[in-house]
Amino acid sequence: MKNAYLPSEVEVVDRIQESPGLFTLRLRLTDVEHQNRYHFEPGQFNMLYLYGVGEIAISIVSDPSDEHIIDHTIRVVGRVTRGFDKLRPGDRLGLRGPFGRGWPMSATEQHDVVVVTGGLGCAPVVSVINYITHRRERYGHLNIVQGVKHSNDFIWRERYDQWRELPDTQVLLAADSGDALWPWHIGRVTDLFSNLSYDPERVSVMMCGPEGMMQVVVKNMLAMGVKENKMWLSMERNMQCAVGHCGHCQYGGKFICRDGPVFNYTEVKPLFSVRGF
Protein backbone atom coordinates (compact mmCIF):
# COMPACT_ATOMS: atom_id res chain seq x y z
CA MET A 1 0.00 0.00 0.00
CA LYS A 2 1.29 3.44 -0.93
CA ASN A 3 2.49 5.72 1.85
CA ALA A 4 -0.26 8.37 2.02
CA TYR A 5 2.06 10.79 3.82
CA LEU A 6 4.63 10.96 1.03
CA PRO A 7 4.22 13.81 -1.50
CA SER A 8 5.02 13.63 -5.19
CA GLU A 9 6.79 16.33 -7.14
CA VAL A 10 4.72 18.77 -9.19
CA GLU A 11 5.82 21.54 -11.52
CA VAL A 12 4.23 24.98 -11.71
CA VAL A 13 3.00 25.22 -15.30
CA ASP A 14 1.40 28.63 -14.94
CA ARG A 15 0.63 31.23 -12.31
CA ILE A 16 -2.37 33.57 -12.60
CA GLN A 17 -2.77 36.64 -10.41
CA GLU A 18 -6.52 36.74 -9.70
CA SER A 19 -6.56 39.82 -7.47
CA PRO A 20 -4.14 41.37 -4.98
CA GLY A 21 -3.17 38.56 -2.62
CA LEU A 22 -5.00 35.87 -4.58
CA PHE A 23 -3.46 33.69 -7.25
CA THR A 24 -3.96 30.40 -9.04
CA LEU A 25 -1.18 27.86 -9.45
CA ARG A 26 -1.59 25.49 -12.38
CA LEU A 27 0.29 22.31 -11.52
CA ARG A 28 1.34 19.10 -13.24
CA LEU A 29 2.82 15.99 -11.67
CA THR A 30 6.32 15.54 -13.06
CA ASP A 31 5.84 11.77 -13.17
CA VAL A 32 3.82 11.47 -16.40
CA GLU A 33 2.29 8.14 -15.44
CA HIS A 34 1.17 9.52 -12.10
CA GLN A 35 -0.41 12.55 -13.81
CA ASN A 36 -2.23 10.22 -16.21
CA ARG A 37 -3.84 8.20 -13.46
CA TYR A 38 -4.47 11.18 -11.17
CA HIS A 39 -8.20 11.64 -10.75
CA PHE A 40 -10.27 13.77 -8.39
CA GLU A 41 -13.87 14.78 -7.69
CA PRO A 42 -15.04 18.39 -7.33
CA GLY A 43 -14.78 19.40 -3.68
CA GLN A 44 -11.75 17.25 -2.90
CA PHE A 45 -8.45 18.80 -1.85
CA ASN A 46 -4.71 18.25 -2.10
CA MET A 47 -1.92 18.75 0.40
CA LEU A 48 0.60 21.12 -1.19
CA TYR A 49 4.15 21.25 0.14
CA LEU A 50 6.63 24.10 -0.11
CA TYR A 51 10.22 22.86 0.17
CA GLY A 52 11.66 23.54 3.61
CA VAL A 53 8.57 25.39 4.83
CA GLY A 54 5.59 23.07 5.20
CA GLU A 55 2.43 21.55 3.88
CA ILE A 56 -1.17 22.86 3.72
CA ALA A 57 -4.58 21.71 2.50
CA ILE A 58 -5.85 23.48 -0.65
CA SER A 59 -9.00 22.66 -2.61
CA ILE A 60 -8.83 21.79 -6.28
CA VAL A 61 -10.58 24.21 -8.64
CA SER A 62 -9.93 22.70 -12.07
CA ASP A 63 -12.28 20.37 -13.90
CA PRO A 64 -11.86 16.64 -13.24
CA SER A 65 -11.94 15.92 -16.96
CA ASP A 66 -8.81 17.99 -17.51
CA GLU A 67 -6.16 15.30 -17.38
CA HIS A 68 -3.21 17.58 -17.82
CA ILE A 69 -3.45 20.18 -15.14
CA ILE A 70 -4.43 20.59 -11.48
CA ASP A 71 -5.45 24.12 -10.47
CA HIS A 72 -5.33 25.58 -6.97
CA THR A 73 -6.50 29.08 -6.13
CA ILE A 74 -4.65 30.33 -3.07
CA ARG A 75 -4.99 33.36 -0.83
CA VAL A 76 -1.86 34.72 0.85
CA VAL A 77 -2.50 34.28 4.58
CA GLY A 78 0.43 32.48 6.24
CA ARG A 79 3.99 31.27 5.97
CA VAL A 80 3.38 28.60 3.36
CA THR A 81 1.03 30.63 1.16
CA ARG A 82 3.43 33.60 1.23
CA GLY A 83 6.03 31.23 -0.17
CA PHE A 84 3.64 29.83 -2.79
CA ASP A 85 2.98 33.42 -3.89
CA LYS A 86 6.59 33.69 -5.03
CA LEU A 87 6.53 30.58 -7.20
CA ARG A 88 6.89 30.97 -10.95
CA PRO A 89 6.47 28.59 -13.90
CA GLY A 90 9.08 25.85 -13.73
CA ASP A 91 9.32 25.88 -9.92
CA ARG A 92 8.68 22.62 -8.07
CA LEU A 93 6.61 21.75 -5.07
CA GLY A 94 5.14 18.65 -3.45
CA LEU A 95 1.59 17.36 -3.80
CA ARG A 96 -0.29 14.49 -2.23
CA GLY A 97 -3.94 13.75 -2.80
CA PRO A 98 -6.69 13.97 -3.70
CA PHE A 99 -8.26 13.58 -0.27
CA GLY A 100 -11.72 13.72 1.23
CA ARG A 101 -15.25 13.42 -0.03
CA GLY A 102 -16.39 15.91 -2.66
CA TRP A 103 -19.74 17.28 -3.79
CA PRO A 104 -22.57 14.82 -4.62
CA MET A 105 -22.42 15.50 -8.35
CA SER A 106 -23.95 12.19 -9.43
CA ALA A 107 -26.71 12.11 -6.82
CA THR A 108 -27.85 15.60 -7.77
CA GLU A 109 -28.11 15.10 -11.54
CA GLN A 110 -31.36 16.42 -13.05
CA HIS A 111 -31.83 18.65 -10.00
CA ASP A 112 -32.00 22.42 -9.94
CA VAL A 113 -28.84 23.60 -8.25
CA VAL A 114 -28.30 26.57 -5.95
CA VAL A 115 -24.64 27.36 -5.34
CA VAL A 116 -24.14 29.88 -2.54
CA THR A 117 -20.77 31.30 -1.60
CA GLY A 118 -19.79 34.06 0.73
CA GLY A 119 -16.74 35.82 2.00
CA LEU A 120 -13.55 35.82 0.01
CA GLY A 121 -12.85 33.43 -2.83
CA CYS A 122 -14.85 30.25 -2.99
CA ALA A 123 -12.61 27.75 -4.61
CA PRO A 124 -14.41 24.65 -3.31
CA VAL A 125 -17.61 25.50 -5.23
CA VAL A 126 -16.02 26.97 -8.32
CA SER A 127 -15.26 23.36 -9.19
CA VAL A 128 -18.99 22.60 -8.91
CA ILE A 129 -19.96 25.47 -11.18
CA ASN A 130 -17.35 24.44 -13.73
CA TYR A 131 -18.47 20.85 -13.51
CA ILE A 132 -22.11 21.75 -14.19
CA THR A 133 -21.39 24.25 -16.94
CA HIS A 134 -19.35 21.61 -18.77
CA ARG A 135 -22.20 19.11 -18.41
CA ARG A 136 -25.07 21.52 -18.66
CA GLU A 137 -27.65 19.03 -19.99
CA ARG A 138 -27.36 16.83 -16.87
CA TYR A 139 -28.60 19.49 -14.44
CA GLY A 140 -31.69 21.70 -14.10
CA HIS A 141 -31.73 25.40 -13.43
CA LEU A 142 -28.43 26.70 -12.05
CA ASN A 143 -28.45 29.55 -9.51
CA ILE A 144 -25.06 31.05 -8.70
CA VAL A 145 -25.19 33.27 -5.63
CA GLN A 146 -22.14 35.07 -4.32
CA GLY A 147 -21.85 37.56 -1.51
CA VAL A 148 -18.76 39.63 -0.70
CA LYS A 149 -18.03 42.18 2.00
CA HIS A 150 -16.90 44.88 -0.39
CA SER A 151 -17.15 45.05 -4.16
CA ASN A 152 -13.33 45.19 -4.33
CA ASP A 153 -13.23 41.63 -2.94
CA PHE A 154 -15.05 40.28 -5.96
CA ILE A 155 -12.87 38.15 -8.22
CA TRP A 156 -13.41 36.23 -11.42
CA ARG A 157 -15.81 38.88 -12.78
CA GLU A 158 -15.26 37.59 -16.30
CA ARG A 159 -16.21 34.06 -15.29
CA TYR A 160 -19.40 35.28 -13.66
CA ASP A 161 -20.18 37.24 -16.83
CA GLN A 162 -19.71 34.09 -18.88
CA TRP A 163 -21.84 32.02 -16.52
CA ARG A 164 -24.57 34.65 -16.73
CA GLU A 165 -24.80 34.05 -20.50
CA LEU A 166 -25.32 30.30 -20.16
CA PRO A 167 -28.78 28.85 -20.76
CA ASP A 168 -30.97 28.25 -17.73
CA THR A 169 -28.45 29.92 -15.44
CA GLN A 170 -28.76 32.96 -13.24
CA VAL A 171 -26.08 34.81 -11.32
CA LEU A 172 -26.98 36.81 -8.22
CA LEU A 173 -24.30 39.00 -6.68
CA ALA A 174 -24.32 41.09 -3.53
CA ALA A 175 -21.77 43.23 -1.71
CA ASP A 176 -22.27 44.51 1.83
CA SER A 177 -20.77 47.75 0.59
CA GLY A 178 -19.56 48.75 -2.83
CA ASP A 179 -18.28 51.56 -4.98
CA ALA A 180 -20.21 53.42 -7.66
CA LEU A 181 -19.24 50.93 -10.36
CA TRP A 182 -20.77 47.90 -8.60
CA PRO A 183 -23.83 47.21 -10.74
CA TRP A 184 -25.36 44.55 -8.53
CA HIS A 185 -27.09 44.41 -5.20
CA ILE A 186 -25.75 46.30 -2.20
CA GLY A 187 -26.74 44.47 0.96
CA ARG A 188 -26.87 40.94 2.28
CA VAL A 189 -26.70 38.02 -0.06
CA THR A 190 -29.86 36.60 1.51
CA ASP A 191 -31.77 39.64 0.25
CA LEU A 192 -31.50 38.04 -3.18
CA PHE A 193 -32.99 34.70 -2.20
CA SER A 194 -36.47 35.72 -3.31
CA ASN A 195 -35.08 35.80 -6.86
CA LEU A 196 -33.94 32.18 -6.75
CA SER A 197 -35.57 29.86 -9.21
CA TYR A 198 -35.87 26.18 -8.32
CA ASP A 199 -38.28 23.33 -7.77
CA PRO A 200 -38.23 22.67 -3.99
CA GLU A 201 -38.82 18.96 -4.62
CA ARG A 202 -35.85 18.66 -6.97
CA VAL A 203 -33.21 21.04 -5.73
CA SER A 204 -29.72 20.70 -4.31
CA VAL A 205 -28.13 23.57 -2.43
CA MET A 206 -24.34 23.61 -2.23
CA MET A 207 -22.58 26.20 -0.17
CA CYS A 208 -19.23 27.25 1.14
CA GLY A 209 -17.95 30.19 3.07
CA PRO A 210 -17.79 31.36 6.69
CA GLU A 211 -19.91 29.18 8.97
CA GLY A 212 -21.95 32.18 10.15
CA MET A 213 -22.94 32.86 6.57
CA MET A 214 -23.80 29.20 5.93
CA GLN A 215 -25.99 29.16 9.04
CA VAL A 216 -27.96 32.08 7.63
CA VAL A 217 -28.25 30.40 4.24
CA VAL A 218 -29.51 27.16 5.82
CA LYS A 219 -32.10 29.07 7.86
CA ASN A 220 -33.33 30.96 4.80
CA MET A 221 -33.47 27.92 2.56
CA LEU A 222 -35.40 25.95 5.18
CA ALA A 223 -37.89 28.81 5.40
CA MET A 224 -38.19 28.66 1.63
CA GLY A 225 -39.22 25.01 1.67
CA VAL A 226 -35.90 23.28 0.95
CA LYS A 227 -35.48 20.10 2.94
CA GLU A 228 -32.50 19.68 5.28
CA ASN A 229 -31.13 16.72 3.36
CA LYS A 230 -31.06 18.74 0.12
CA MET A 231 -28.29 20.99 1.41
CA TRP A 232 -24.55 20.33 1.30
CA LEU A 233 -21.75 22.41 2.70
CA SER A 234 -17.97 22.41 2.61
CA MET A 235 -16.44 22.54 6.10
CA GLU A 236 -13.02 23.69 7.10
CA ARG A 237 -10.79 22.88 10.09
CA ASN A 238 -7.09 22.59 10.82
CA MET A 239 -5.82 19.73 8.64
CA GLN A 240 -2.31 18.35 8.78
CA CYS A 241 -2.35 14.69 7.75
CA ALA A 242 -5.41 14.68 5.42
CA VAL A 243 -6.13 11.01 6.18
CA GLY A 244 -7.96 11.09 9.53
CA HIS A 245 -4.92 10.36 11.70
CA CYS A 246 -3.64 13.64 13.17
CA GLY A 247 -6.90 14.54 14.94
CA HIS A 248 -6.98 18.30 14.36
CA CYS A 249 -10.01 18.45 12.07
CA GLN A 250 -12.35 16.47 14.32
CA TYR A 251 -15.90 17.77 14.42
CA GLY A 252 -17.67 15.68 17.01
CA GLY A 253 -17.12 12.14 15.70
CA LYS A 254 -16.34 13.29 12.15
CA PHE A 255 -12.92 13.78 10.65
CA ILE A 256 -13.47 16.69 8.24
CA CYS A 257 -10.51 15.66 6.07
CA ARG A 258 -11.69 12.10 5.61
CA ASP A 259 -15.48 12.12 6.12
CA GLY A 260 -15.79 15.57 4.47
CA PRO A 261 -14.90 18.27 3.68
CA VAL A 262 -18.31 18.22 1.97
CA PHE A 263 -21.15 17.16 4.26
CA ASN A 264 -24.86 16.87 3.91
CA TYR A 265 -26.38 19.38 6.31
CA THR A 266 -28.03 16.60 8.35
CA GLU A 267 -24.58 15.18 9.18
CA VAL A 268 -23.25 18.37 10.75
CA LYS A 269 -26.50 19.81 12.06
CA PRO A 270 -26.11 18.73 15.73
CA LEU A 271 -22.94 20.79 16.22
CA PHE A 272 -23.34 23.31 13.43
CA SER A 273 -23.91 26.43 15.52
CA VAL A 274 -22.15 25.24 18.69
CA ARG A 275 -19.04 27.26 19.52
CA GLY A 276 -15.88 25.26 20.15
CA PHE A 277 -16.23 22.34 17.73
Partner: protein, 368 residues
Protein backbone atom coordinates in the same frame (compact mmCIF):
# COMPACT_ATOMS: atom_id res chain seq x y z
CA UNK B 1 -7.56 -22.20 28.23
CA UNK B 2 -7.08 -23.48 31.79
CA UNK B 3 -5.28 -26.59 30.56
CA UNK B 4 -2.62 -24.34 28.94
CA UNK B 5 -1.68 -22.75 32.22
CA UNK B 6 1.79 -23.28 33.55
CA UNK B 7 3.75 -22.17 36.55
CA UNK B 8 6.84 -19.99 36.15
CA UNK B 9 8.91 -19.79 39.36
CA UNK B 10 10.15 -16.23 39.94
CA UNK B 11 13.78 -17.29 39.64
CA UNK B 12 13.08 -18.56 36.12
CA UNK B 13 11.79 -15.22 34.77
CA UNK B 14 15.40 -14.44 33.83
CA UNK B 15 15.31 -17.59 31.69
CA UNK B 16 12.34 -16.16 29.78
CA UNK B 17 14.23 -12.89 29.20
CA UNK B 18 17.29 -14.80 27.99
CA UNK B 19 15.17 -16.93 25.70
CA UNK B 20 13.52 -13.86 24.14
CA UNK B 21 16.90 -12.22 23.64
CA UNK B 22 18.24 -15.41 22.07
CA UNK B 23 15.28 -15.45 19.68
CA UNK B 24 16.24 -11.97 18.50
CA UNK B 25 13.78 -9.89 20.48
CA UNK B 26 14.65 -6.49 21.86
CA UNK B 27 13.29 -6.81 25.39
CA UNK B 28 11.47 -3.82 26.87
CA UNK B 29 10.48 -4.03 30.51
CA UNK B 30 9.64 -2.00 33.61
CA UNK B 31 12.30 -0.33 35.74
CA UNK B 32 12.56 2.61 38.11
CA UNK B 33 13.98 5.80 36.64
CA UNK B 34 13.63 9.33 37.99
CA UNK B 35 11.34 8.10 40.77
CA UNK B 36 8.82 6.59 38.36
CA UNK B 37 8.25 3.26 36.69
CA UNK B 38 9.22 3.48 33.03
CA UNK B 39 9.57 0.88 30.29
CA UNK B 40 12.95 0.64 28.62
CA UNK B 41 15.47 -1.89 27.29
CA UNK B 42 16.02 -4.61 29.82
CA UNK B 43 18.41 -7.56 29.98
CA UNK B 44 18.14 -8.67 33.58
CA UNK B 45 15.40 -9.23 36.13
CA UNK B 46 17.66 -7.31 38.52
CA UNK B 47 16.70 -4.12 36.64
CA UNK B 48 13.01 -4.66 37.41
CA UNK B 49 11.21 -2.79 40.22
CA UNK B 50 11.63 -5.51 42.87
CA UNK B 51 9.58 -4.85 45.99
CA UNK B 52 8.34 -1.52 44.66
CA UNK B 53 4.87 -0.30 45.65
CA UNK B 54 3.29 2.92 44.60
CA UNK B 55 0.84 5.47 45.90
CA UNK B 56 -1.10 7.28 43.25
CA UNK B 57 -3.61 10.04 43.91
CA UNK B 58 -4.90 13.04 41.94
CA UNK B 59 -1.76 15.02 41.13
CA UNK B 60 0.52 12.65 43.06
CA UNK B 61 2.79 9.68 42.26
CA UNK B 62 5.14 8.15 44.83
CA UNK B 63 7.18 4.93 44.91
CA UNK B 64 8.04 2.99 48.09
CA UNK B 65 10.30 0.01 48.70
CA UNK B 66 8.47 -2.75 50.55
CA UNK B 67 11.51 -5.01 50.74
CA UNK B 68 9.68 -8.07 49.31
CA UNK B 69 10.41 -9.95 46.10
CA UNK B 70 7.37 -9.01 44.04
CA UNK B 71 8.35 -7.48 40.69
CA UNK B 72 4.96 -6.24 39.48
CA UNK B 73 3.18 -5.03 42.63
CA UNK B 74 2.46 -1.62 41.18
CA UNK B 75 -0.03 -0.40 38.59
CA UNK B 76 1.67 1.78 36.01
CA UNK B 77 3.95 4.70 35.25
CA UNK B 78 3.45 7.74 33.05
CA UNK B 79 3.96 5.82 29.78
CA UNK B 80 3.88 2.25 28.56
CA UNK B 81 3.41 0.92 25.02
CA UNK B 82 2.27 4.08 23.20
CA UNK B 83 5.68 5.73 22.67
CA UNK B 84 7.05 2.51 21.17
CA UNK B 85 4.46 2.28 18.39
CA UNK B 86 3.49 5.94 18.05
CA UNK B 87 6.74 7.81 18.67
CA UNK B 88 6.55 11.18 20.39
CA UNK B 89 8.51 12.54 17.46
CA UNK B 90 9.44 10.87 14.22
CA UNK B 91 10.51 11.78 10.71
CA UNK B 92 7.83 10.97 8.13
CA UNK B 93 9.88 11.76 5.06
CA UNK B 94 12.83 13.71 3.76
CA UNK B 95 12.85 16.13 0.82
CA UNK B 96 15.97 17.08 -1.08
CA UNK B 97 16.34 19.69 -3.81
CA UNK B 98 18.95 19.08 -6.50
CA UNK B 99 20.92 21.69 -8.46
CA UNK B 100 18.05 22.04 -10.95
CA UNK B 101 15.67 22.71 -8.03
CA UNK B 102 13.92 19.43 -8.67
CA UNK B 103 12.53 17.86 -5.52
CA UNK B 104 13.15 14.30 -4.38
CA UNK B 105 10.98 12.78 -1.67
CA UNK B 106 12.29 9.87 0.37
CA UNK B 107 10.26 7.67 2.68
CA UNK B 108 11.91 7.32 6.10
CA UNK B 109 10.28 4.38 7.82
CA UNK B 110 11.47 3.30 11.26
CA UNK B 111 13.43 0.07 11.44
CA UNK B 112 11.07 -2.87 11.93
CA UNK B 113 12.34 -4.45 15.15
CA UNK B 114 11.23 -7.58 16.94
CA UNK B 115 10.18 -6.20 20.30
CA UNK B 116 9.12 -8.21 23.32
CA UNK B 117 7.18 -5.95 25.64
CA UNK B 118 7.31 -7.41 29.14
CA UNK B 119 4.82 -6.26 31.73
CA UNK B 120 2.07 -4.90 29.48
CA UNK B 121 -0.94 -4.00 31.61
CA UNK B 122 -4.39 -5.02 30.37
CA UNK B 123 -5.45 -1.35 30.13
CA UNK B 124 -2.44 -0.58 27.96
CA UNK B 125 -3.13 -3.55 25.70
CA UNK B 126 -6.71 -2.29 25.28
CA UNK B 127 -5.29 1.14 24.39
CA UNK B 128 -2.91 -0.44 21.88
CA UNK B 129 -5.84 -2.16 20.18
CA UNK B 130 -7.62 1.20 19.95
CA UNK B 131 -4.53 2.66 18.28
CA UNK B 132 -4.41 -0.31 15.90
CA UNK B 133 -7.93 0.62 14.82
CA UNK B 134 -7.01 4.28 14.45
CA UNK B 135 -3.72 3.91 12.62
CA UNK B 136 -4.14 0.62 10.74
CA UNK B 137 -7.77 -0.28 10.24
CA UNK B 138 -8.96 2.77 8.29
CA UNK B 139 -8.82 3.72 4.59
CA UNK B 140 -5.19 4.70 5.03
CA UNK B 141 -2.68 2.68 7.01
CA UNK B 142 0.02 4.51 8.90
CA UNK B 143 3.29 3.00 7.63
CA UNK B 144 5.40 4.24 10.58
CA UNK B 145 3.03 2.80 13.16
CA UNK B 146 2.82 -0.45 11.19
CA UNK B 147 6.61 -0.82 11.03
CA UNK B 148 6.88 -0.41 14.80
CA UNK B 149 3.86 -2.51 15.61
CA UNK B 150 4.07 -5.53 13.38
CA UNK B 151 6.77 -7.53 15.15
CA UNK B 152 5.75 -6.86 18.72
CA UNK B 153 5.27 -9.66 21.20
CA UNK B 154 3.20 -8.75 24.24
CA UNK B 155 3.84 -10.36 27.58
CA UNK B 156 1.03 -9.12 29.78
CA UNK B 157 1.19 -8.99 33.53
CA UNK B 158 -2.26 -8.93 35.08
CA UNK B 159 -2.82 -6.20 37.64
CA UNK B 160 -2.94 -7.48 41.22
CA UNK B 161 -2.12 -4.12 42.84
CA UNK B 162 -4.14 -1.42 41.10
CA UNK B 163 -3.55 2.15 42.20
CA UNK B 164 -6.22 4.26 43.88
CA UNK B 165 -6.53 6.13 40.59
CA UNK B 166 -7.31 2.98 38.56
CA UNK B 167 -10.82 2.29 37.28
CA UNK B 168 -10.24 -0.37 34.60
CA UNK B 169 -12.84 -2.65 36.13
CA UNK B 170 -15.55 -0.12 35.23
CA UNK B 171 -14.36 0.30 31.62
CA UNK B 172 -14.01 -3.47 31.17
CA UNK B 173 -10.30 -3.30 30.33
CA UNK B 174 -8.80 -4.89 33.46
CA UNK B 175 -7.50 -5.89 35.89
CA UNK B 176 -6.99 -9.19 34.01
CA UNK B 177 -6.07 -9.29 30.32
CA UNK B 178 -8.57 -11.15 28.16
CA UNK B 179 -7.22 -10.47 24.65
CA UNK B 180 -4.35 -9.09 22.67
CA UNK B 181 -1.42 -10.70 24.47
CA UNK B 182 0.87 -13.59 23.57
CA UNK B 183 1.67 -14.59 27.13
CA UNK B 184 -0.02 -13.43 30.35
CA UNK B 185 1.52 -13.65 33.80
CA UNK B 186 -0.16 -13.33 37.17
CA UNK B 187 2.32 -12.76 39.97
CA UNK B 188 2.05 -14.64 43.27
CA UNK B 189 4.32 -15.25 46.24
CA UNK B 190 6.44 -17.99 44.61
CA UNK B 191 6.22 -16.97 40.98
CA UNK B 192 3.83 -16.57 38.10
CA UNK B 193 0.82 -18.29 36.65
CA UNK B 194 1.71 -18.30 32.93
CA UNK B 195 -0.88 -18.52 30.19
CA UNK B 196 -0.04 -18.70 26.47
CA UNK B 197 -2.63 -17.12 24.27
CA UNK B 198 -1.04 -17.37 20.83
CA UNK B 199 1.17 -19.72 18.86
CA UNK B 200 3.94 -17.15 19.18
CA UNK B 201 3.58 -17.32 22.95
CA UNK B 202 3.66 -21.13 22.89
CA UNK B 203 6.71 -21.16 20.62
CA UNK B 204 8.58 -18.82 22.94
CA UNK B 205 7.94 -20.84 26.09
CA UNK B 206 8.04 -24.35 24.59
CA UNK B 207 11.68 -24.92 25.40
CA UNK B 208 11.25 -23.81 29.00
CA UNK B 209 9.44 -27.06 29.83
CA UNK B 210 7.37 -25.45 32.53
CA UNK B 211 5.28 -27.50 34.91
CA UNK B 212 1.50 -27.30 34.63
CA UNK B 213 -0.05 -24.94 37.12
CA UNK B 214 -1.82 -26.61 40.01
CA UNK B 215 -5.52 -26.07 40.68
CA UNK B 216 -4.65 -24.16 43.84
CA UNK B 217 -2.45 -21.70 41.90
CA UNK B 218 -5.18 -21.06 39.33
CA UNK B 219 -7.79 -20.45 42.02
CA UNK B 220 -5.42 -18.19 43.90
CA UNK B 221 -4.71 -16.11 40.76
CA UNK B 222 -8.45 -15.78 40.12
CA UNK B 223 -8.92 -14.59 43.67
CA UNK B 224 -6.16 -11.96 43.31
CA UNK B 225 -7.82 -10.56 40.18
CA UNK B 226 -11.22 -10.49 41.86
CA UNK B 227 -9.74 -8.45 44.69
CA UNK B 228 -8.01 -6.15 42.20
CA UNK B 229 -11.34 -5.49 40.50
CA UNK B 230 -12.60 -3.81 43.66
CA UNK B 231 -11.68 -0.23 42.83
CA UNK B 232 -12.63 3.11 44.35
CA UNK B 233 -13.16 4.97 41.13
CA UNK B 234 -15.42 4.15 38.24
CA UNK B 235 -16.82 5.56 35.05
CA UNK B 236 -20.56 5.49 34.36
CA UNK B 237 -21.30 2.45 32.21
CA UNK B 238 -22.27 2.51 28.55
CA UNK B 239 -22.06 4.97 25.71
CA UNK B 240 -21.96 8.51 27.10
CA UNK B 241 -22.02 10.26 23.72
CA UNK B 242 -25.65 11.37 23.91
CA UNK B 243 -25.57 12.52 27.52
CA UNK B 244 -22.31 14.45 27.09
CA UNK B 245 -23.42 16.16 23.89
CA UNK B 246 -26.77 16.98 25.49
CA UNK B 247 -24.91 18.80 28.25
CA UNK B 248 -22.54 21.05 26.32
CA UNK B 249 -23.70 24.09 28.31
CA UNK B 250 -23.40 22.40 31.71
CA UNK B 251 -22.07 24.67 34.47
CA UNK B 252 -19.45 22.03 35.35
CA UNK B 253 -17.43 22.85 32.20
CA UNK B 254 -16.93 26.35 33.62
CA UNK B 255 -15.92 24.95 37.01
CA UNK B 256 -13.38 22.49 35.67
CA UNK B 257 -11.98 25.16 33.32
CA UNK B 258 -11.28 27.35 36.36
CA UNK B 259 -9.01 24.59 37.74
CA UNK B 260 -7.52 23.22 34.49
CA UNK B 261 -4.17 24.69 33.43
CA UNK B 262 -4.64 23.52 29.83
CA UNK B 263 -1.12 22.04 30.10
CA UNK B 264 -1.82 18.90 28.10
CA UNK B 265 -0.28 16.48 30.63
CA UNK B 266 -3.43 14.35 30.50
CA UNK B 267 -3.21 13.94 26.74
CA UNK B 268 0.53 13.16 26.88
CA UNK B 269 0.07 10.34 29.41
CA UNK B 270 -3.21 9.07 27.95
CA UNK B 271 -2.47 5.77 26.19
CA UNK B 272 -5.18 6.39 23.57
CA UNK B 273 -4.63 10.07 22.67
CA UNK B 274 -3.43 10.06 19.08
CA UNK B 275 -3.34 13.75 18.03
CA UNK B 276 -0.12 14.83 16.42
CA UNK B 277 1.09 17.82 14.45
CA UNK B 278 3.30 17.84 11.40
CA UNK B 279 6.29 20.14 11.33
CA UNK B 280 9.10 20.95 8.93
CA UNK B 281 12.76 20.90 9.92
CA UNK B 282 15.03 22.16 7.15
CA UNK B 283 18.70 21.23 7.60
CA UNK B 284 20.79 24.25 8.52
CA UNK B 285 23.26 23.64 5.69
CA UNK B 286 20.46 23.75 3.13
CA UNK B 287 21.05 20.14 2.11
CA UNK B 288 17.48 19.01 2.62
CA UNK B 289 14.43 19.19 4.79
CA UNK B 290 12.78 16.71 7.12
CA UNK B 291 9.03 16.46 7.57
CA UNK B 292 8.23 15.23 11.08
CA UNK B 293 5.32 14.57 13.32
CA UNK B 294 5.16 15.27 17.05
CA UNK B 295 2.53 14.48 19.64
CA UNK B 296 0.07 17.33 19.88
CA UNK B 297 -2.70 18.06 22.36
CA UNK B 298 -6.23 19.42 22.02
CA UNK B 299 -5.32 21.64 24.99
CA UNK B 300 -3.06 23.84 22.83
CA UNK B 301 -4.43 26.90 21.00
CA UNK B 302 -2.74 25.70 17.80
CA UNK B 303 -4.75 22.47 17.73
CA UNK B 304 -7.90 24.21 16.48
CA UNK B 305 -6.29 27.09 14.57
CA UNK B 306 -7.44 27.97 11.06
CA UNK B 307 -6.30 31.14 9.25
CA UNK B 308 -6.71 33.65 12.02
CA UNK B 309 -9.39 31.82 14.01
CA UNK B 310 -8.84 29.62 17.07
CA UNK B 311 -11.95 27.47 17.28
CA UNK B 312 -11.25 26.52 20.91
CA UNK B 313 -9.97 29.79 22.29
CA UNK B 314 -10.42 29.04 25.99
CA UNK B 315 -9.86 26.22 28.46
CA UNK B 316 -13.55 25.40 28.86
CA UNK B 317 -13.85 24.60 25.17
CA UNK B 318 -10.63 22.57 25.21
CA UNK B 319 -11.49 20.46 28.25
CA UNK B 320 -14.96 19.91 26.81
CA UNK B 321 -13.45 18.84 23.49
CA UNK B 322 -11.16 16.35 25.25
CA UNK B 323 -13.82 14.79 27.44
CA UNK B 324 -16.64 14.75 24.87
CA UNK B 325 -14.27 13.11 22.41
CA UNK B 326 -12.67 10.62 24.79
CA UNK B 327 -15.90 9.39 26.33
CA UNK B 328 -18.45 10.46 23.73
CA UNK B 329 -17.70 10.81 20.02
CA UNK B 330 -15.01 8.11 20.35
CA UNK B 331 -17.90 5.60 20.31
CA UNK B 332 -18.96 6.89 16.89
CA UNK B 333 -15.39 6.59 15.59
CA UNK B 334 -14.16 3.34 17.12
CA UNK B 335 -17.19 1.58 18.57
CA UNK B 336 -16.10 2.02 22.17
CA UNK B 337 -15.01 4.68 24.63
CA UNK B 338 -11.48 6.07 24.31
CA UNK B 339 -10.86 5.54 28.03
CA UNK B 340 -9.30 2.30 29.29
CA UNK B 341 -9.37 3.22 32.99
CA UNK B 342 -5.61 3.53 33.56
CA UNK B 343 -6.09 6.67 35.67
CA UNK B 344 -2.96 8.37 34.36
CA UNK B 345 -4.78 11.62 33.51
CA UNK B 346 -5.78 11.85 37.19
CA UNK B 347 -2.34 11.07 38.62
CA UNK B 348 -0.34 13.25 36.28
CA UNK B 349 -2.67 16.25 36.30
CA UNK B 350 -0.72 18.97 38.15
CA UNK B 351 -3.91 20.25 39.78
CA UNK B 352 -5.42 16.82 40.36
CA UNK B 353 -8.50 17.01 38.15
CA UNK B 354 -10.27 13.66 38.34
CA UNK B 355 -11.97 12.69 35.08
CA UNK B 356 -14.30 10.26 36.85
CA UNK B 357 -15.55 13.07 39.09
CA UNK B 358 -16.02 15.48 36.20
CA UNK B 359 -17.91 13.03 34.05
CA UNK B 360 -20.11 11.98 36.93
CA UNK B 361 -20.95 15.61 37.67
CA UNK B 362 -21.89 16.24 34.07
CA UNK B 363 -23.74 13.01 33.39
CA UNK B 364 -25.46 12.44 36.72
CA UNK B 365 -26.61 15.98 37.46
CA UNK B 366 -28.11 16.47 34.07
CA UNK B 367 -30.19 19.66 34.29
CA UNK B 368 -32.96 18.15 32.18
Amino acid sequence: MKQDMNFLPRDRLQGLLDLLAAQGYRCIGPQVKDAAIVYDDIASVEQMPRGIRQTQAPGSYRLHDSGDDYLFSWANGPQAIKPLVFASEEVLWQCDADDNKQLHFTETLPEAQKIAFIGARPCDIAALYIHDRHFLQQDYRDPCYLARRQNMVLIAVNCTQPADTCFCASTGDGPGASYGFDIALTEMAEGFLLECHTETGQAITRDMQLAKAGEHTIVQADELLKQAAVQQRKLPAGNLQAVLFNNLDHQRWHEVAARCLSCGNCTAVCPTCFCHSEIERPQLDGSGSQHLRQWDSCFTPGHSYIHGITIRSDTRLRYRQWLTHKLGSWHEQYGRSGCVGCGRCITWCPVGIDLTEEVSAICMESPT
